[in-house]
Structures are given as C-alpha cells and as structure tokens.
Amino acid sequence: MPRRVLNIIESAYRATIEEQDDTIVWLSYMLRDAGAELSVLLRGNAVNYAVSGQDCSGLSFGERRQTQPPRLDSDLVKLMEKGVPVLAVAEDLTERGIDSQDLVGGIKTIARSGVAKLFDSYDLVWHW
C-alpha cells in the first residue's frame, strides 16, 4: 500500500512569474504522474491560487515579453483532473474576502478546526 501524502501549500506567489507556475503545484502534478497518492491543502495566502480568472499577463523587459504567464487557477484544475483532490482552509478564504463562488470548480473547503483530523487520513504530511 503506497503511503498517502498531504501537500500543504502555504508559501504563495514565490517566484511564480519566473517559474510560470507554483513549484509545489507542479511537484504535486509530477508526483501524481509518478504514481503518488496525494492531496493538496491550500492555506494562508496560497488559498488565492484557487481564485478563478487570475491574470498576470503583460510583463515585459525591453523587447522581451512574457508569453506564457502563470495561470495558477487552471493549473489547480489540471491537478484535480489528474486525480489530486485540492482543499482550501475556509477561514483563510474568508479572512481574505474570497467567496466560494470565486473559486475554480472542484475545490473543497475545510474548516481550520478540521485540519488536524485531516492529517490522520495521510501517512505523510508535507508543509511547504
């Protein structure tokens, strides 16, 4: 029985412009591709990744334009389509004025008080 992993993403928007993705969302996708059983929990500022319709296009330096800016919301959709459940801490959304209808489809919310119990469902809890 493979060990189940919960990836908690808290460090948000850290070099996402340069990377054109979030490196832990990407890592989760690649781990899943390698056969891992895992879920992703967004907490803190990272809950904003789930907000639909983010647009950070338009960056340029001189004549060098960024043609593929990060699209973190659609990357989460890709992750869920790959079979990785994505959860977000409800209070972290509320504190930032984010309504559930602002999120991409498929995101499950979990109360902060339920996070410790959630850990029991996984063999490994990785906090990024």
Binding site: A15, I17, E18, Q20, D21, V25, W26, L59, R64, D75
Partner: protein, 137 residues
C-alpha cells in the same frame, strides 16, 4: 520629461526564489523607460540573476515543450534591459560582486556586465540621486 536622474539598486536575492527580483527588474525597466540612468550592484545570490548558463525547460503540467513554454530566464531579462538602455541612450551599469560570484562558481554572466566589489556600491551611492536596497528576507 523631468531631468534624468541616476538611481542605484542593490539586489541580493537569487533567481527563482521569490518575487522581489522580478519586481526589482520591473523598477529598473521603468526607470530606463523614463530616461533615467541605473546602476545595479548584484550582491550574494543576486549575482545568479545574470548567470549565463540558465536554461529554459518544458512544462509537462502545461503540456508544452520548451519552445511553447517560452520559459523566461532572468539572464534574458537583464540582457533585454541592457538593450533597452542602449536604445534609449541611457546607462545601465550592472556590477557583479566578484567574491559572491566566486563563492557560487557563477562567473559566467551574460555580456554587458562587469565584475566589481563593495567599493563599486559605495561609488554608485555617492554618484546617484538615490539608492534602493532590496535585501533578502
């Protein structure tokens, strides 16, 4: 347009770690577009921004190959800024801290930069209208 100023930036963060370096490059870009001269002192991890061996990669999550992903490398942004300065007739004087470069084995930088020392930061600060330090946190 207001009279041209000379601004100095000290950059300390390595590439691909946080948004500060991107923001710093945007500020430099903005200054150059407005006709100001810019000095940069790249310190510690900041010397990695111009490391010439940075290479773009594909992105399997996006389903794009290396050409389609068009992954940006900060070294290319710096080259673009140098070109921008040249075209606008302003100056971008970018100094790489030599000891920081040596520590990291990052001696191969894109063309147009120069190797220096903290004395260059001091000279920059003396000759500039203002200096902005963007440190690591």
């Amino acid at each position: 347009m207001a009279a041209s100023k000379t601004l100095t930036f000290a950059l300390m963060d390595p590439p691909y770690e946080n948004a500060r370096s991107t923001t710093a490059l945007r500020l430099i870009d903005c200054a150059l577009r407005r006709g100001h001269n810019v000095n940069v002192f790249a310190y510690e991890g900041g010397v990695g921004l111009a490391f010439a061996k940075q290479a773009p990669h594909p992105n399997a999550m996006h389903g794009r190959d290396v050409a389609q992903e068009d992954h940006p490398n900060p070294k290319d942004w710096i080259t673009a800024l140098l070109k921008e300065a040249e075209q606008r007739g302003t100056k971008l004087d970018w100094v790489q801290c030599g000891m920081c470069v040596d520590e990291r084995g990052a001696g191969e930088a894109v063309a147009g930069l120069r190797r220096g020392s903290p004395a260059d930061l001091w000279k920059f600060a003396q000759a500039s209208d203002n200096t902005l330090i963007i440190p690591s946190k």
